[in-house]
C-alpha cells in the first residue's frame, strides 16, 4: 500500500484481508456480542462498529503488530464515540438478533447501560466472553488492576440492579 492510511483499492484490500480473515472468524463473534450489549442492543450500530474496526485494521494491517487488541480497542472506541455523538437513551427494547429473544436480555442490557462505559466493557469481556483480567487489559489498553476495579464495581452494580435470584437449573 502507499501512504499508510491512504486510500486502498478493493483488490489490495482483499489481499490484506486474507491475513485477517482467520482472526475475524475466531474473534468477530465475541467482539460482536460484546459490542451489541455495550451499545444497548442496537444491532445496526454494533454491526457498523465491528465491520468498521476490521475494515480499519485491514487498511492499516502492515503497521499493526498485535491485531486482536488493536481491533478490540478500536471497536470500543468507535462505539463509545458513536454513543456520545448520538446522545440517545437506551432503546425501549433491544433489536432482535439471531439466537436470542430480545425480551430475555432486556433487563440485563438496561442494567449494563447504567454502568460506566469502562465498567460495561470490562464486565462484558470478563463475564460474558470469558477473558482474563490481563487479557482485557491488553484488549482495552488499560492496566490489569484497573480492569479488576471495573469488573468488581460493575458486578456489584449489576447485582444491585438485578437482585432477584433465579434457579439456573429451572
Amino acid at each position: 500500500m502507499g501512504e499508510v492510511g491512504g486510500a486502498v483499492g478493493r483488490r489490495e484490500r482483499a489481499e490484506l484481508a486474507q491475513g485477517l480473515e482467520e482472526l475475524y472468524r475466531t474473534t468477530a463473534p465475541q467482539l460482536w456480542r460484546a459490542i451489541y450489549a455495550y451499545v444497548g442492543g442496537r444491532r445496526h450500530l454494533a454491526e457498523d462498529v465491528v465491520a468498521e474496526a476490521f475494515a480499519r485494521a485491514i487498511e492499516r494491517a502492515p503497521e499493526i503488530r498485535a491485531p486482536r487488541p488493536w481491533i478490540f480497542r478500536t471497536a470500543f472506541r468507535i462505539a463509545t464515540r458513536e454513543l456520545r455523538r448520538e446522545r440517545r437513551p437506551l432503546p425501549p427494547s433491544p433489536d432482535p438478533v439471531p439466537g436470542i429473544d430480545p425480551a430475555d436480555v432486556q433487563d440485563l442490557l438496561g442494567a449494563l447501560w447504567s454502568l460506566s462505559p469502562n465498567q460495561r466493557a470490562a464486565v462484558l469481556l470478563h463475564d460474558e466472553e470469558g477473558f482474563t483480567g490481563p487479557e482485557i487489559a491488553r484488549l482495552l489498553g488499560m492496566s490489569a488492576a484497573t480492569v479488576r476495579v471495573h469488573v468488581f464495581r460493575g458486578r456489584r452494580r449489576l447485582r444491585e440492579l438485578l437482585s432477584v435470584e433465579e434457579d439456573v437449573d429451572g
Binding site: E3, V4, G5, V8, R10, R13, A14, A17, E21, Y24, A28, P29, W32, R33, Y36, E47, D48, A51, E52, F54, A55, R56, I58, E59, R60, E63, R65, W70, R73, T74, R77, I78, R81, E82, R85, V97, P98, G99, I100, D101, D104, V105, D107, L108, D127, E128, A137, G141, M142, S143, R155, L158, R159, L161, L162, V164, E165, E166, D167, V168
Partner: protein
C-alpha cells in the same frame, strides 16, 4: 442458584454474528472519521460584534474548554491578546501551541512554541521568561527574543517561527484585543554556533521589578489521551497530548507505549521521525545499558498515517 445477571449473560452468549458482515468489512471503512474540531460559532460581522464574540470567548474559556475537543488540543479561531507587555500561551485551532506576545510598544507577535532545534527527531518546546522577556528552549536552553529571533546559547538553527494574523477587535485604547491567526512565516535566519556554547545563561534569572516565573502551556487533563493506541485508533486531526513511555528496541524501532514489559509494548503505537538507532547508541545504552527510554510520560504529537508523528517531550508542562 445464580445471580440473575449471570444467567442473562448466558443467554446473551447465544447471539449470533450476522453472516454477511465480512462482506461489509471488505468494502472498507465507511463510518465518518473522528468529528472535526469544534468551529467557533461566533462570526464577527463588525467591530461591535467582534468585541462581543471575544468577550464571550474569554468568559466561556474561563468555565470550559470552548473551541477545544477531547480529540485534540484545539484552541479557538479567535485568540485573545493579553495586556500590553504580557505574553500568553495559546493553542491554535489545530492544537499547535503558540505564544501571543503583546509587546510593550503595543504591537503584537504570534510566536511558535516549537524550537527549530530537534534532538534525535524530538520536537522541543520553548517557555517564556518574563524577567528577560525571552523565550528559552526548555531542553537545550537556546534563548530567543520576544519576536522569536535567536539571541544566545543553543543549539538553534534559526529563530522561532512566527505567524501572520489579522486583528479582529481592539480595546478602548486602540490596542489589538483579539486576533485571528493565519499562516506560519519563515523564522529569522540568525542562528547559534554549531556547537553548543559552553556557558549557558540562566533560564530565567531574577530581574528587579519583573517576575522570573516562567510561562508555559497548561494541558487540560481531560484532553490527554490515556494511551497512544487509543489516539492512533481515533486518528484525531491536529496536535494532541498523550501519555506514554518511549520504547526503543535493540534494532532502533521506536514505539510509544502505555506500558512497557521488557521489550513488549502494550497500548502502544509506532513513532515516526525519531532516530532510534542514534538514540540507542548515543544515549540509551551508555546510560542504562538496555533498551527503553523513559524520557517523558507526557507528549505532544500528531497522529498521521496511523503512527505517532512529531513527538514532543512535554512532561514539564503543568496538567490541570
Amino acid at each position: 442458584m445464580a445471580d440473575r445477571w449471570r444467567t442473562e449473560l448466558e443467554k446473551l452468549r447465544r447471539a449470533e454474528l450476522p453472516g454477511d458482515l465480512w462482506e461489509r468489512v471488505l468494502e472498507g471503512p465507511r463510518m465518518e472519521p473522528p468529528p472535526a474540531r469544534a468551529r467557533s460559532r461566533l462570526v464577527a460581522a463588525g467591530t461591535a460584534l467582534a468585541v462581543f464574540a471575544v468577550a464571550a470567548l474569554v468568559a466561556l474559556r474561563a468555565f470550559g474548554p470552548l473551541g477545544t475537543s477531547v480529540e485534540t488540543l484545539a484552541g479557538p479561531e479567535v485568540l485573545p491578546v493579553p495586556a500590553r507587555g504580557v505574553t500568553a500561551p495559546e493553542f491554535l485551532p489545530d492544537g499547535r501551541p503558540v505564544f501571543v506576545v503583546h509587546h510593550e510598544d503595543g504591537t503584537v507577535s504570534v510566536v511558535d512554541a516549537f524550537s527549530p532545534h530537534r534532538a534525535w527527531g524530538f520536537e522541543e518546546l520553548v517557555i517564556w521568561c518574563p524577567s528577560t522577556r525571552q523565550f528559552v528552549e526548555w531542553a537545550h536552553e537556546a534563548h530567543f527574543d520576544e519576536y522569536g529571533a535567536w539571541r544566545s546559547a543553543g543549539p538553534a538553527p534559526s529563530g522561532l517561527a512566527t505567524f501572520a494574523f489579522r486583528v479582529v477587535a481592539r480595546d478602548a485604547g486602540g490596542d489589538p484585543s483579539a486576533i485571528r491567526v493565519g499562516a506560519m512565516q519563515s523564522p529569522d535566519p540568525g542562528h547559534s554556533p554549531a556547537v553548543t556554547e559552553p556557558s549557558r545563561p540562566p533560564i530565567c534569572p531574577e530581574v528587579a521589578g519583573r517576575s522570573n516565573r516562567v510561562v508555559t502551556h497548561v494541558i487540560d487533563a481531560s484532553q490527554i489521551w490515556p494511551t497512544p493506541a487509543d489516539a492512533v485508533a481515533a486518528a484525531p486531526d491536529g496536535w494532541i497530548a498523550v501519555r506514554g513511555r518511549l520504547l526503543v528496541a535493540q534494532d532502533g524501532f521506536v514505539q510509544l507505549c502505555a506500558e512497557i514489559d521488557g521489550e513488549r509494548c502494550d497500548g502502544g503505537a509506532v513513532v515516526r521521525g525519531v532516530d532510534g538507532v542514534g538514540l540507542l547508541v548515543n544515549v540509551i545504552l551508555p546510560v542504562s545499558g538496555k533498551s527503553g527510554y523513559e524520557t517523558s510520560t507526557l507528549w505532544l504529537a500528531r497522529v498521521r498515517g496511523g503512527v505517532i508523528d512529531d513527538p514532543t517531550i512535554a512532561s514539564f508542562l503543568p496538567v490541570r
